[in-house]
Amino acid sequence: MSLDPAYLDYPLRKRGMDHEYYPYSNLFERPPIAWPSGKAVAVAIVVDLEWFPILPADKPFRAPGHMVTPYPDYRHYTAREYGTRIGFYRMLDAFAKVDARVSVAINSAIAERYPRIIADILSAGHEIVAHSTDMNDTIASGLPEDEERALIAAALDALEQAAGTRPRGWMSIARSQSFNTPRLLAEAGLAYMADWVNDELPYRFETGAGAIVNVPVNHELSDRQIVTVQQQSADSYVEQIMDAYALLHGEASTLGTSRMLPLNLTPYIMGLPYRIDVLERLLGWLADQDDAAFHGLGEIADALR
């Protein structure tokens, strides 16, 4: 038994990364980024607002949170809708209480089906980030380029039509991209994307069709990861986020720099009656921090420039 000799060839084994998207950069050697508030720590809240068709498509893959049982999966279809009808409104109230402007990564199907939600988001001053069309429209290698381009355009067009302005940012379902995605996003005129989780500050990402800003929205700090995947309690989630804030704030103070704390929230996870109280407690605690301010992803991306 032996392997193809090419398996022991390493054509990209040289200084730097094994791709052209971005150069290596040590977070601790970068100049501080001035957030619009002038505060040291930008707290970026990103809510995923999603519509799951009861007929799931697996091309190229089935989205996290999608249907599980044989058709018709009332249990997951309605539990996700619960997030949109109830949980999201609890969250909107919670954000209003602490005067936080957030980013909502939204399937364009939500805008088409429930225009009232778009009005409620906009009237509260929140930012709309494009998040595909619906939860069947996932992206990964294998999706033909023209289909991916059409998917991105459809999402942007529908959100623009509903909101009156074209989204400036993009977040893929499950942060999943193909090799074409960054270039197609840049060609679509988007200013930033929120898929790559390799950093804690926004950075420039070369696409082959000009640069786009990547704003890292740490999946490890998401309610999905901590509560749903790792099965920890909402109280533990809050404790972990407070620990993360303390660490980031400590670094910002000690090193004289700025940091970003991303909170990726899901209405059908943290918007439940038995969890929303602790989210409100967390938001209140963050709002009370002297050196923190809530910023949308667009503000964070713009601060890099």
Binding site: S2, L3, P5, L27, S178, Q230, A244, Y245
Partner: protein, 291 residues
Amino acid sequence: MREGEKDPGLYDFRPYRGRPKLEWPGGKQVAVWVSPNIEFYELDPPANPHRKSWPRPHPDVVGYGHRDYGNRVGHWRLAEAMSRHGFPGSVSLSVAMCQHLPEVVADAAARGWEFFSHGIYNTRYSYGMDEAQERALIEDSIRTVREATGQTIKGWLAPALTHTPRTLDLIADYGLSYTCDLYHDDQPGEVHVKSGRLISMPYSLEVNDHYGFFVYNMSPRAYADTLIRQYQRLADEGGTVMCIPLHAYLIGQPHRIGPFEEVLKHIAADGRAWITRSGDIADHYMQQVAA
């Protein structure tokens, strides 16, 4: 190993009871070594017929980005915390890091850390290699680390824990003294090899941060508590080795490094730990105990 037999014949059965006590320098009770895995994962690696690299089609943006975070963010945070409390690292190194990101390797070397090989990339597996290919992998590892750091590697942790039936014999043949791939003991011990002398160095999957966070689904504070319990017990028993295997992309996260630093503080303050490197443990053991 005895290939194809039910018992691979890796070592003799030596129960814990009745062993002569191992003595550590300075009369310490437990040798503690911290092992950051400094790894490079390729965005688009070639396929190995025996194991898939990424769970998703390439590019696996979250998987790759998560690992890359370790080198851009996590390493620096972890290394500072270790240095603050006097812990050197014993690095399980994807040796291609010496070409790709020499600043990370140089930082670890400047802190007095030891390097052993964890393969070329953590996306290139040993499964299916013939002897010449596996020798090439070992020779590459020795040469690359020597050129980058001046160190001669003494140890091995197979890339992504992928082995062949020849691996242990071959690393012993090249003069390496320890393997981190066997999990049968809390003390070093002899491994049966065709030539030379090879010992097993207690590493740990059970208290590896990857297991803590993604197998046992621990919170950061629960993981820190686990490490302290592991330490207390091994220090009480004495003559033991405790390894803390880490990945900067996991432990270097902002919600985890604070609780972890409390563990370092606890062990450093306890006074019973020989806080050292894996190669120093191997050298000490091999001088103290005859093969």
